[in-house]
Amino acid sequence: MSSALIRALRFMRAYALWAVLGVVAVLASAIADLVSPQYLKRLIDVGISRNQPDVILSSSLMLVALAAAGGFASFLQGYFSARASHGAAFDMRNAIFDKLQRLSFAYHDRAQTGQLITRVTSDVDLVREFVGGGLVQAVSAVLLLGGAVTLLFRLDTQLAWIAILVLPATIGVLLLFVRRLGPMFKQFQVRLAALNTVLQENVAGVRVVRAFAREDYELKRYDHANVELLEQGLSVRKTVANAFPLLFSIGTIGVGLVTWAGAVQIVEGTLTVGELVAFTAYLYLLLQPLFVLGFGAQQIARSSASAERLFEILDAPEDVDEKTDAHALERVAGLVHFENVHLRYPGSPSETLSGINLTVEAGTTVAVVGATGSGKTSLVNLVPRFYDVTGGGVFVDGHDVRDVTISSLRGQVGFVMQDSVLFSGTVRENIAYGRPDATDQDVEAAARAAQAHEFILELSEGYLTRVGERGVKLSGGQRQRIAIARALLIDPRILVMDDSTSSVDSETEAAIRSQLDRLIEGRTSFIVAQRLATARRADLVVVLENGRIADTGTHQELLGRSCLYAQIASSQLIGGEETVAPSSCGPAPEPDGDR
């Protein structure tokens, strides 16, 4: 058993009582199973051989009563195991969900939603089957095995020795089979996952496939994976075909040999027919737990792989972790200070931010501009501590963001992300996401400020219209405005807008911009924007280049001295503005192609 599986057992601790009851119930049903051959023997040896109808009747009734008792016990076993195993699964799912909620952006950047869902649903189920059900079965099987062996020897030593020969042979085959089949199953799962990845990509990327008419190429790719899967499936079949019938046959051959030897003993007069029948019944009782263990062993192979995947999540380091002595951040003025900040994403060979020194006074607006991939989003993500710096520090009102509680920090940062994710629920619920107890007036005020009020009223049920996967499909621009309202509603001291108007048409954008002064009034604001119309009004503009600050200053200052900035400005042809680059600049990309 793998160490991951042993660790998974700790989820059983809270349900140990149910599990123990389960074992007790199995034993009760086993006792019923063990007793009934005695009545079978009595039925034959006393009832039939000596022709006593009342014994025939009473033994038959006893057999039925024992079956009923055993049946009831095994029903209880099913129920108790379900209590134990589903209880453990419940705790496992909660634990993983908790963990996923705590893991930082760095983790979620690399994780695939589909895979995480599989872990929480089917991997948990596989582990549950073993930890909850399989374990009870296995413990019971071992106990039952011991009981059956004891009874066999008490009944007839000579036959018992023949019967016991079955054990090493069966166990040998089992071990061989489990050792071979385990890795084969694992490989099968790997190939199945590869096949499903192709399928997944073709569903998610259907437009790209169609746009480039790559259907034949995808078919080939899929067929390759499909053939590989088929080959693996066939070799699994082959191993199963070699192992399972052999396993059963060893048992039946054992029964045959015992019957032969028993018959010889009857001839010799040392054994009765009833005893032989009872003996073979016990032999079946001996074989049954062996098969249970066999299936259990196969289950272990599958469950350990799942358990390993679960602990991959549960053991993932929480890089953005709250210190034990973290204090709550009081309502801040909004002074944000970056001190020699370095950031390198996990797995990335180079730094995304290098040596950033920047002070943003409380209540001022800073615009962050720079080329694609220059680190703009990374920089603003550090303020609410979505990632931790790999060097230096980020300070809010002089507090290192790592020294304060995460919720008190994020409660004061309103963040509008590049992708506006909405949740299924009403428009109102989405706006009030960060403050579920907000009044209708507050929600509406936030929506008005974000230029969303008008279109919301045009929706069929206004603020109570359902959006998200199963609701009304909103356009990108509409989603973005709801996301802005969502950020404003928490009345943040610090507002971060990460390129939040890129998919809004220019009229809407202009409307938002005209409100911007009101939105950001009294708040410290970080605005990542491609368009300099926004930057022009900022108190401070930060120009990033390859993860470093190339220059800072006001729009006018930068126009006069930063080549990079002048190029950006000229690339946008800001109406009527003088955008002559400083004379020291090299040849800029040709700004304008008037025809």
Binding site: G47, I48, S49, P53, I56, S60, L63, S74, Y79, A82, H86, N94, F97, L100, R102, H108, I117, V120, T121, N196, L199, V203, G205, R207, V208, R214, E215, L219, Y222, L229, R237, N242, P245, F248, S249, T252, I253, T259, A263, G269, V273, L276, V277, F291, G347, A371, T372, I406, M417, L422, F423, S475, I490, S506, A510, I568, Q572, P591, G593, R595
Partner: protein, 596 residues
């Protein structure tokens, strides 16, 4: 004793049992190409069932011989039946092995075919289909349903046959050995069938509840994971945790309920079969006492009863498993039967020597479920010209360009390429003449070079390099440690949105397409990089037809013509200068963007 593997697991999924026969027949058709193997497998099945069914008779014979010779001490008469008994188990073993091998192989090959056909369909269906279904839902359905079919084709089918054969074989032996006891045994069968049906009904409810509960858990999870960054940003994690936990608890309780029902199933069957066995024993005992039958026959019957009821119990549980496999099969067939709304017409011809003249004639369009988006668009794009399409969000810009590449067909009117209705051309040749950059820059898992080469599988390394340069992606690629060979994730999540857009752009131009369609191709790219791209673009666009959608008006200044779309209608068109001078919708947009 109940047989192994009794489960009611999915007795309940299929609600229309009438269709099961049709679905089963259709599933069986996948085995048809492997009929030789199936036939061989069935022969082995018959052999193994017969061998196993013969053992109790041989055991009975052995015991009868032993009782007649009881006390004589001469066991030599036992040798022949004993050896027969042992050889019967050996035959049983080998036949079983062969039957698993042959039928299992046929099943796996049939499944390969099912998978291939499903994927063929996924590749064939029109884009609109994938918009109408939720992709997460579609995926999990495809995976789970195929898994159900898998378990049926590779196991259920074989076990069904095997149980049925051994039922028949056992019954035949029973009738031959002692027909009166055989009939007594059969009496229990209707009771067991009745119980199975009853449980089926109770279980159906319990299992449906369970299915809904786990569906709810997955859906919550999918949504929470999709928005996890927002949840963390807005301090919602505690609340989300308790919401998830309550759904999780419903799921736990539904599972315990379902397990309770199915835990009762096999014990009840076991009690019935044991009662029947006891009746057989009592009757047999009375008969033996009366001297009507021998004691060996009674012992043989005790074994037969076990075999017989094992088979019946197996069939009862397989009945439910089979039903759920068929339900899965039904949903898969539904997919396979869905016709693609955009497919090659019978007389479609390949587009050759495409010059790139595009014409929209009175085009109207509505999505599968929804109001009309485009209301009569007339637009001609002469070959080699660049036309920009601007307008507010939701005006129908993306829809319009999507019609050109035949992602959808117009509900009225037609789209023509070089004077040919696009519906008269083969899809492959039509789309191959387009280079399209979509709003959402989807990248496949693989390297950057592989993603660019997706636009032209025959592109050389130099071609890929050049496309990357032209797309303005060269600089950031050079900074990556493995350059073009850097792997990108499923959604290219190690790259920024802007960088992904640049790669999508490179992918579109690498194949030197006759028509270039840029749908907000650079919305997340900084303006300076965009300008660099535009400088490169001028060379690319020369002599090529292009449709460009952009919010940023600076992007569209170079276009030969700008078309302003509003509410699904063309409200204005002309050159940049003309439109500004006209002082209409475009001028208003322009003022909003550049004025203050």
């Amino acid at each position: 004793m109940a047989g192994p593997g009794v489960s009611l697991r999915s007795i309940a999924k299929d609600e229309r049992p009438t269709s099961t026969r049709v679905v089963a027949g259709r599933l069986m058709r996948y085995l048809l190409p492997h009929r030789a193997q199936v036939a061989t497998g069935m022969a082995w099945l018959v052999a193994s069932s017969a061998a196993i069914a013969a053992t109790p008779a041989l055991t009975g014979r052995l015991i009868d011989l032993a009782t007649t010779a009881e006390g004589s001490g001469d066991a030599s008469a036992l040798t022949v039946p004993a050896l027969l008994l042992v050889s019967a188990t050996l035959v049983g073993w080998f036949a079983q092995r062969m039957q698993i091998l042959t039928l299992g192989t046929a099943g796996q090959k049939a499944l390969y075919q099912v998978r291939a056909e499903v994927f063929g369909k996924v590749v064939d269906l029109d884009v609109g289909y994938f918009e109408a279904v939720e992709s997460g839902d579609l995926m999990s359905r495809l995976i789970n349903d195929i898994e159900q079919i898998n378990s049926f084709l590779s196991q259920g089918f074989r076990r069904l046959l095997s149980s049925a054969f051994s039922l028949v074989a056992t019954l035949a032996f029973m009738l031959v050995v002692e027909w009166r006891l055989a009939l007594a045994t059969l009496l229990a069968v209707p009771i067991m069938l009745g119980v199975t049906r009853l449980f089926g009904m109770i279980a159906r409810r319990a299992f449906r509840k369970r299915q809904e509960a786990i569906g709810d858990v997955s859906a919550t999870l999918a949504e929470e994971l999709g928005g996890i960054k927002v949840a963390q940003a807005f301090n919602r994690t505690d609340r989300n945790r308790s919401e998830f936990s309550s759904r999780n608890a419903v799921n736990r309780d539904a599972n315990i309920g379902a397990a309770t029902v199915s835990s009762a199933f096999s014990p009840v069957l076991a009690v019935i079969s044991t009662s029947a066995t006891a009746v057989v024993a009592a009757l047999g005992g009375w008969g033996a006492a009366q001297g009507i039958i021998t004691i060996g026959v009674v012992v043989a019957f005790l074994n037969y009863a076990r075999q017989f009821f094992n088979a019946v119990t197996q069939l009862s549980s397989l009945y439910s498993d089979t039903q759920s496999a068929l339900a899965g099969g039904e949903r898969v067939f539904q997919l396979l039967d869905t016709a693609s709304l955009v497919a090659d017409l019978p007389h479609a011809v390949p587009a050759v020597d495409v010059r790139g003249r595009l014409e929209f004639r009175a085009v109207r369009f509505a999505y599968r479920t929804g109001a009309e988006i485009l209301h009569g668009i007339d637009l001609t794009v002469p070959a080699g010209q660049t036309v920009a399409i601007v307008g507010p969000t939701g005006a129908g810009k993306t829809t319009l360009v999507n019609l050109a590449a035949r992602f959808y067909d117009p509900t009225h009117g037609s789209v023509l390429l070089d004077g040919h209705d696009v519906r008269s051309l083969t899809l492959n040749s039509l789309r191959s003449s387009f280079g399209i950059v979509l709003q959402e820059p989807f990248l496949f898992s693989g390297t950057i070079a592989e993603n660019i080469r997706y636009g032209d599988l025959a592109a050389s390394d130099a071609d890929v390099r050049r496309a990357a340069e032209l797309a303005g992606a060269g600089d950031f690629i050079d900074l990556l440690p493995q350059g073009l060979d850097t792997a990108v994730g499923e959604r290219g999540s190690t790259l920024s949105t802007g960088q992904r857009q640049l790669l999508a752009f490179a992918r579109a131009i690498v194949g030197d397409p006759a028509v270039l369609v840029l749908d907000e191709a650079t919305s997340s790219v900084d303006t300076r990089t965009e300008l660099l791209i535009q400088n490169g673009l001028r060379g690319i666009l020369a002599g090529r037809t292009a449709l460009i959608i952009a919010h940023r008006l600076s992007t569209v200044r170079d276009a030969h013509r700008i078309v302003v779309l509003e509410g699904g209608r063309i409200v204005e068109q002309g050159s940049y200068g003309e439109l500004l001078a006209a002082g209409g919708a475009f001028a208003a947009l322009h003022g909003a963007q550049f004025g203050d």
